[in-house]
């Protein structure tokens, strides 16, 4: 167990390091002078460009540059957004809570509803209810979220003003974006949960359990569901990242604040320091979530530590 934890820990630290190097290199890959790119409006000012050059340490070897940048990042200093005339960290601090709220709401929906639908379909396997549920799931997976978002706004915020169009972080403003964000993953999860349960159902030990003389419900809960949880747990981890990056579109459609929209705007505005920070933070967060999932694994499947 200790060895497993240590191994996961080393893995995530290595991953975080790799991610940071990639993200760091990203900004150096941009054609032309990064300082000019960063300054945008003020790029005409040669003095400023020079100063930024020095600030970013562009005149130094890459390793030094990286270490300086990383030093800043670790202190929470991601640089200054010239487009927004404030520090990147304050931009992120201001936008992050809304995104986290949306992502978590989306996760609750996609895992909750997806699980119920999938379990329902698995129990009714190969019957009409199964086919219908899976048809709905497939459709949900296939509808573009931005289009759905528009239709939802038209229906539930304009025609029937039940929810806020631009809700900020109130719950009335959260419902539609969360549904839009989660719909695709609900569909995916329903299918995934169904096949996980079915896969668990056909395991041989399920027959052993039935041969003990316990009830069908007990078999389903203790031996089928319990064993199906492991793949589902993995999916939850992955999905967190999917939803987190999905906010890019949903926040744009619903004019919600958040780092997704911040990212899109930063890309359009060539505000590279902000892009860099958002990408880094989301990737690290995603890695962290998967790290936590890794830590939960042994609880769900005692074989894992043995691997």
């Amino acid at each position: 167990m200790r060895a497993y934890l240590l191994q996961r820990l080393i893995a995530i630290v290595a991953l975080a390091f790799g991610v940071s190097v990639l993200v760091f290199l990203m900004i150096r890959l941009i054609p032309g002078d990064p300082a000019i790119a960063l300054l945008g409006t003020n790029a005409g000012d040669a003095e400023l460009v020079d100063r930024l050059h020095h600030q970013l340490g562009l005149d130094q070897p890459l390793v030094t540059q990286y270490l300086r940048w990383m030093g800043g990042v670790l202190r929470g200093d991601f640089g200054y957004s010239y487009g927004n005339q404030q520090s990147v960290s304050s931009l992120i601090a201001a936008n992050f809570p809304a995104t986290l709220q949306l992502t978590l709401a989306g996760l609750v929906l996609s895992v909750g509803i997806g699980f119920l639908l999938g379990a329902f379909a698995a129990v009714r396997r190969n019957r009409a209810a199964d086919t219908v549920t899976m048809g709905i799931a497939l459709t949900a997976m296939s509808i573009p979220s931005f289009w759905l978002g528009l239709l939802l706004i038209l229906l539930f915020a304009v025609t029937l003003p039940w929810f806020d169009v631009v809700g900020g972080t109130s719950w009335k403003g959260l419902v539609l974006p969360a549904v839009t964000l989660a719909l695709g993953t609900i569909g995916f999860n329903a299918r995934f949960v169904r096949s996980s349960i079915i896969a668990a159902q056909v395991q041989r030990h399920v027959v052993t359990a039935r041969a003990k003389g316990i009830t069908r419900a007990q078999v389903f809960l203790r031996h089928v569901l319990r064993n199906a949880l492991l793949p589902i747990l993995t999916i939850v981890g992955i999905q967190f990242g999917q939803l987190l990056s999905g906010t890019v579109i949903v926040e744009t459609v619903f004019s919600r604040p958040g780092i997704g929209r911040l990212l899109v705007q930063a890309i359009l505005a060539k505000d590279y320091l902000t892009v860099q920070a958002v990408v880094l933070i989301v990737a690290i967060l995603y890695a962290l979530i998967n790290f936590i999932v890794d830590l939960l694994y042994p609880i769900f499947d005692p074989r894992i530590t043995g691997r």
């Binding site: 030990h205 041969a211 003990k212 003389g213 316990i214 005692p302």
Partner: protein, 343 residues
Amino acid sequence: MGMATGQAEAVTSRGGAAAPPALLTVENLQTFFRTSGGTVRAVDGVSFDLAAGASLGIVGESGSGKSVTSLSIMRLIDRPGFIAGGRILFKGRDLVELPERDVRRIRGGEISLVFQDPMAALNPVYTVGSQVVEAILAHRPIGRKQAMERAIELFRMVGIPAPEVRVNEYPHKLSGGMRQRVTIALALANEPDLLILDEPTTALDVTVQAQILDLVRDLQQRVDTAVLLITHDIGVVREVCEEVIVMYGGRVMERGSVAKLTDDPKHPYTVGLLGSMPQPGMKGRPLQAIPGAVPAPLAMPQGCPFQSRCPHMMEVCTAMPPLKDPGDGRLVACWLYEGGATP
């Protein structure tokens, strides 16, 4: 523990010429599977009986319907399979007709089953002890703690060293032989009257197989349990059983005492099966192999399933011969022994 008491009876009830009332009687059992290609008649009219405390082996090649027979007895056949006909009388009650609730009481209580692959048969996410406890609690109104004590007892009985520690292990930590001991402990949890072992040693090495067979033989003596041993290795049957059934294509071909069957097989299939197995001293001579291959489940011929490979194939073989005693206390299903052999 109540196991020791049964010992005396076990000796008497075995092989008694007085023919005690059978514990299990399978009559013309038919278990079919509906598949996209048609109906697979996996078990097609199997009949046999088994006395309390007795031991019977079932041998046959892959796909002959051995496992389906055992699952049918446990009423564990799932869609797309179904029991299409026949009766399974257990202590006088027909398991085919019994409501699910009552079947559940019998499953794991009065009849229990040990599966072939001990790794797949145990749930990887629970400790082995708790899986045994689950089986105990399903049939006995006792507390968890007591159940666990009993599980430890059972572990000790099946020869697992340090059972107090081992109950808390997960299946993957145990070797194949240990796992098989656990599944046997699981099966014995409620002192069943009938223990079905479906290829309990196939996945194991010879030396471990010997250990397990030793254990089964030993238990058979100590506990008054009837044993139905399924295997494709006639040597294994020889170790444990008095009587044996040979199955082919979902049907019983021959039944008799192990010695009689191996020394003087009657059914052409049994002859071929034994001829295919190298015996000491056969070196340098070709084996008496059966030509051809087992027909596909959906391509089983009408009548005797062995007709296409049989050296004595006759016209009458398109009808299934009945199981009859050719006159020496065994049963053979072949027209060759049906006097005269004319249609």
